[in-house]
């Protein structure tokens, strides 16, 4: 496993998507594609939301949520953080992160539970 590189790189969302609106999955994917290789190299990353006015869950799911399918939680906690986010956007990010952890852990069980509740499996 590569050693953690201590100097933090600031990745600016605005510069990647060229807009103050993080309202599409595709733009979120662009951000993800910048972050993931750095994390894979053990690089510390701070994702800056400076000048971002509006973000939605689909954007955050693509940018950040899918990291939980690629990296262990501990590694994300160790290497990744966000900055310049409004309190309301942090609240949304918390939902996205909590959901992503469950999504990658429990998806088949969730779906099975619904099949049982609907009770009419084919």
């Amino acid at each position: 496993m590569p050693e953690t590189i201590t100097q933090e790189i600031i990745v600016r969302v605005f510069d990647i998507i060229g807009s103050s609106l993080g309202v599409s999955s595709d733009d979120g994917q662009k951000v993800h594609d910048k972050i993931a290789p750095l994390l894979r190299e053990g690089q510390k990353v701070s994702l800056s939301f400076d000048r971002i006015e509006t973000i939605i869950s689909a954007f955050l799911n693509a940018a950040i949520g899918q990291l939980y399918g690629e990296f262990p939680e501990e590694k994300i906690r160790e290497l990744f953080n966000v900055k310049d986010m409004s309190p309301e956007d942090l609240a949304l990010l918390k939902r996205v992160v909590d959901n992503a952890k469950l999504y990658f852990k429990n998806r088949p069980q969730f779906d099975q539970a619904w099949q049982e509740e609907l009770g009419r499996e084919e």
Partner: protein, 288 residues
């Protein structure tokens, strides 16, 4: 074919009437539809969005559409929001700037929609709200739009219309698509061909549930929307197939026909001054 459309409000009956229109006109191919509004004595402006979606589906089968015998008050509302200008009527100035005009977007028009929203929300109660609530309101609207982009497969696009009621301090916005509908997506995902529209809507509203597969998680947007409506004391309706959901009243079924695609109607309480922040112990440092 002549179809007489009755009163259209944002209610189960209103959606039922639009579903009946679709049910009757769906078999038409390269014919004419005369939509007669002489028996329509009220039309909630935002309902032009699902009507636009139904008419687009009818027109897609090479049918010519005419809207006739519109009562003056309704004609005025539907000319002000630009809906009737798609059917040969002259535009009417919206002097009070209370309407969010009828607009049709393609699935990759996210930024055009963002421009529309920025332009149209100005002066419609949002600035009077605290910054946080205004922000969360806009997020909620984007969530609905993005949901249609991601899931609808609506070749004919996404239809948007709204109305601001300054005295009531309410903003209504409706986003409709002409796509596959919620039930079919959930049936395919759960591999269960007997899921009803009502069950599919209930499933979609549950946090964590998404028909999305692959590396990007989903299942946050509609739950976020639902929680926002609850806290904001707003309203939300979601209609697809014969499923009709209304926040606070749960799910119901359209009794006579099915509405194609999916429609979400959101009513935002613009007098809301609550905080939508996290509890103070959660910070950017301990979120992960």
């Amino acid at each position: 074919m002549i179809h007489k459309l009755g009163t259209i409000r944002s209610t189960r009956e209103g959606f039922e009437r639009l579903a009946q229109l679709w049910s009757e006109a769906a078999p038409l191919f390269s014919r004419g539809l005369e939509l007669d509004l002489s028996e329509c004595d009220f039309f909630d402006a935002n309902m032009a969005a699902p009507l636009g979606a139904v008419l687009a589906l009818i027109a897609d089968k090479f049918n010519r559409i005419e809207i006739v015998r519109v009562r003056p008050a309704i004609e005025s509302v539907l000319r002000r929001n630009g809906f009737l200008t798609n059917y040969g009527y002259r535009p009417e100035e919206d002097a009070g700037r209370t309407s969010l005009p009828f607009a049709r977007f393609q699935l990759d028009d996210e930024r055009l929609f963002a421009d529309y929203l920025k332009r149209q929300l100005a002066g419609k109660g949002i600035p009077r709200m605290t910054e946080g609530v205004g922000k969360v309101s806009q997020q909620s609207i984007f969530e609905v739009f993005q949901n249609a982009v991601t899931h609808s497969e609506s070749r004919l696009g996404i239809f948007v219309c709204g109305q601001f009621y300054p005295h009531e301090q309410r903003l209504n916005i409706t986003i409709a698509d002409a796509g596959v509908g919620i039930r079919d997506k959930v049936r395919v995902y759960l591999r269960n061909g007997q899921v009803s529209s009502e069950e599919a809507i209930r499933w979609a509203l549950q946090g964590g549930n998404t028909t999305r597969t692959g590396p990007r998680p989903g299942g946050v947007g509609l739950k976020f929307l639902h929680d926002f409506v609850e806290r904001n004391r707003g309203k939300m309706q979601m209609v697809s197939g014969d499923g009709f959901y209304e926040y606070g009243n749960g799910c119901d079924t359209l009794r006579q026909a099915e509405l194609p695609g999916a429609t979400v109607n959101l009513e935002i309480n613009t007098a809301d001054t609550q905080s939508y922040r996290l509890s103070s112990e959660v910070t950017a440092q301990n979120i992960f």
